[in-house]
């Protein structure tokens, strides 16, 4: 069982986001593994472990040959990675990203399943997994909260607005996983050391046959949103619940 996991390396979400001169998200600092993707990596490792053979391969697109986040996922247990890094892809839209990842999947070798997060924590367009499936001509199941592989099919509990659906899907397929699908492991010291020598193949857009990347949208304005007026902030002295009662009373909700 070979599983490919799409991972994104993003600016640390704990730091305030910044825009570049062209108003796209600033990504030239150190990037880390998007936490939303650690669930997919863990799920893939468990599926390959359960199958008893095969490997987990990572695919990623990032500027400046960035591998910090990939090393984290390799330290968790993935075997190898394909990284697409090309200045011409800076600010790429979701459709271009999906085409690039499909190209990277083609470089990653045989696979039974492709796993991705539902959306990244920085851009959160949330369309890439489904676009990737369409580019690859594969069936897909989005928003998986459990995944089990059974022969040539994958069984997924798919989160819905009202609850969940049980879905069966033929392989190969693309499955996007929600956060919380599994508890991601922490890389062990041994894993971290081993990750340093695991192969990362770095390719350009041209290597994937994508000659002139462009996308049909442009940012035409950025402005500060109107701020909410500052409210009253008070330290609890054991009596502040009365302020809440008063507040609710004034709004006539009690």
């Amino acid at each position: 069982m070979n599983v490919i996991v799409c991972v994104k390396q993003i600016p640390d979400p704990a730091l305030p986001g910044e825009l570049d001169a062209d108003n796209t998200l600033k990504r030239d600092g150190k990037l880390i593994l998007d936490e939303s993707d650690s669930y997919g990596v863990e799920m893939a490792l468990q599926l390959v472990g359960a199958a008893g053979d095969g490997a987990v391969t990572l695919v990623s697109m990032a500027p400046n040959d960035e591998v910090s986040g990939l090393r984290t996922a390799l330290a968790m247990g993935a075997e190898k990675a394909v990284l697409v890094s090309d200045p011409s892809l800076a600010g790429a839209d979701a459709l271009t990203t999906a085409k690039v990842l499909a190209g990277a999947v083609g470089k990653a070798g045989d696979y039974d399943l492709v796993i991705a997060g539902t959306e990244s924590s920085d851009g959160y367009t949330g369309t890439v997994p489904e676009q990737l499936a369409e580019v690859l001509g594969l069936p897909s199941v989005t928003f998986a909260k459990t995944i089990a592989v059974d022969g040539g099919t994958v069984k997924v509990d798919r989160q819905t607005e009202a609850g969940y659906d049980e879905v069966t899907c033929s392989l190969p397929a693309v499955v996007s996983v929600t956060a919380g699908v599994v508890e991601p492991r922490y890389p062990s010291f041994k894993g971290i050391m081993a990750a340093k020598s695991k192969p990362v193949e770095t390719v350009t857009a041209a290597d994937l046959g994508i000659e002139s990347a462009s996308w049909a949208q442009s940012i035409t304005n950025v402005e500060d949103a109107p701020e909410r007026e500052a409210g009253e902030i008070i330290e609890d002295d054991g009596e502040t619940f009365n302020k809440i009662v008063e507040f609710l009373d004034n709004l006539k909700v009690i």
């Binding site: 369309t127 369409e134 798919r158 607005e161 909410r228 409210g231 502040t240």
Partner: protein, 322 residues
């Protein structure tokens, strides 16, 4: 030329159109030109409401027979477009079905997508959308530069629904063609989680809990307060991911967008992903131990204190009022 043919991705439940559908139809209708609704499944009794909100034409796929909407509805849309009715703009709700269908269609048509938007404007042949970023601190305006159809997804509650538009509501079948290799996924069982009380995204009062509650059992205080205020309980993504409460409770980017009269955030720090789902609330009360928590930046009344002390006192005081 101009933007004179707009489609709205439409969802119905038990013959009732979703509120997001009616919001988008209303907005589409205000942009001029003709508006079509593209219904997942059958329009049924919802057809009247779709027409009343501006739909001149109602495409319906009919029963999907267990196929997931992403691959199937996008194929049905593509078939209609190939048949000659090509829209200038297709508006989707930013939800599971909306974004899956839009994603598949974007590849079929080789068109870019703009998502998470809260407004749209048309200027001649040009279509722009406004999208809040950084938790709503900045608004980015993006313009489609290629050829139509333009594909855009909008957050729920971005527009006010209004009926009385008097669309013709002509129902036209748009069956799902053979899906080939993309049709391998099938729904074998549907599970609906029972909820009581008002719906989270419709309630006048929402009481939401976060990691500051400390443990799953303490969510009971949130439930009790919600019940006391005839509201709905909600949750931050952190405690949904931790498995304390079901996903249907989640408020935020990946959950529900709520705009209640009063939003009570208990033990929620206010991560970007949460704020975009509740920032539009008319009044916000926040209770959190950390006075630096971002939630206080949007609170009308902020209590810097321990939810384990303040909530029980509040419940007792409200109970005493009867």
């Amino acid at each position: 030329m101009g933007i004179d043919n707009i489609w709205v991705f439409a969802q119905t439940t038990d013959g009732e159109a979703s509120s997001a559908t009616l919001e988008l139809l209303t907005k589409a209708n205000s942009l001029g030109g003709s508006v079509s609704a593209f219904v997942v499944g059958s329009a049924g009794e919802a057809a009247a409401a779709l027409a009343d909100h501006g739909a001149a034409k109602i495409y319906e796929t009919g029963d999907l027979g267990g196929a997931l909407p992403g691959a199937s509805v996008s194929a049905a849309m593509k078939a209609v477009i190939d048949g000659g009715d090509s829209p200038d703009l297709i508006m989707f709700p930013q939800n599971y079905e909306g974004r899956d269908v839009m994603a598949r269609l974007s590849v079929k048509l080789d068109r870019t997508v703009l998502t998470n938007s809260t407004d749209v404007s048309v200027d001649g042949d040009s279509v722009s959308v406004a999208t809040p970023i950084f938790g709503g601190a900045k608004i980015v305006t993006s313009t489609f530069t290629g050829e139509a159809p333009y594909l855009a997804a909008f957050r729920p509650k971005s527009f006010e629904p209004a009926g009385g538009a008097g669309g013709a509501g002509e129902v036209v079948a748009a069956p799902v063609p053979d899906l080939g290799t993309t049709g391998g996924a099938n729904v074998t069982a549907v599970h609906v989680e029972e909820t009581s009380g008002p719906k989270l995204d419709e309630a006048a009062v929402v009481v939401a809990g976060g990691r500051g509650l400390g443990e799953a059992e303490k969510f009971d205080m949130v439930e009790q307060l919600a019940k006391q205020l005839k509201g709905a309980p909600g949750a931050s993504r952190a405690i949904v991911d931790a498995g304390w409460v079901p996903y249907s409770y989640q408020v935020g980017q990946t959950g529900k967008v709520v705009k209640p009269t009063v939003y009570v955030a208990a033990g929620i720090s206010g991560a970007t992903q949460h704020m975009v789902g509740m920032k539009g609330s008319k009044n916000i009360i926040a209770i959190n131990k950390d006075k630096e928590a971002p939630i206080f930046g949007v609170a009308d009344l902020g209590i810097v204190g321990d939810v384990h002390k303040v909530l029980p006192q509040l419940l007792e005081a409200l109970n005493a009022r009867g």
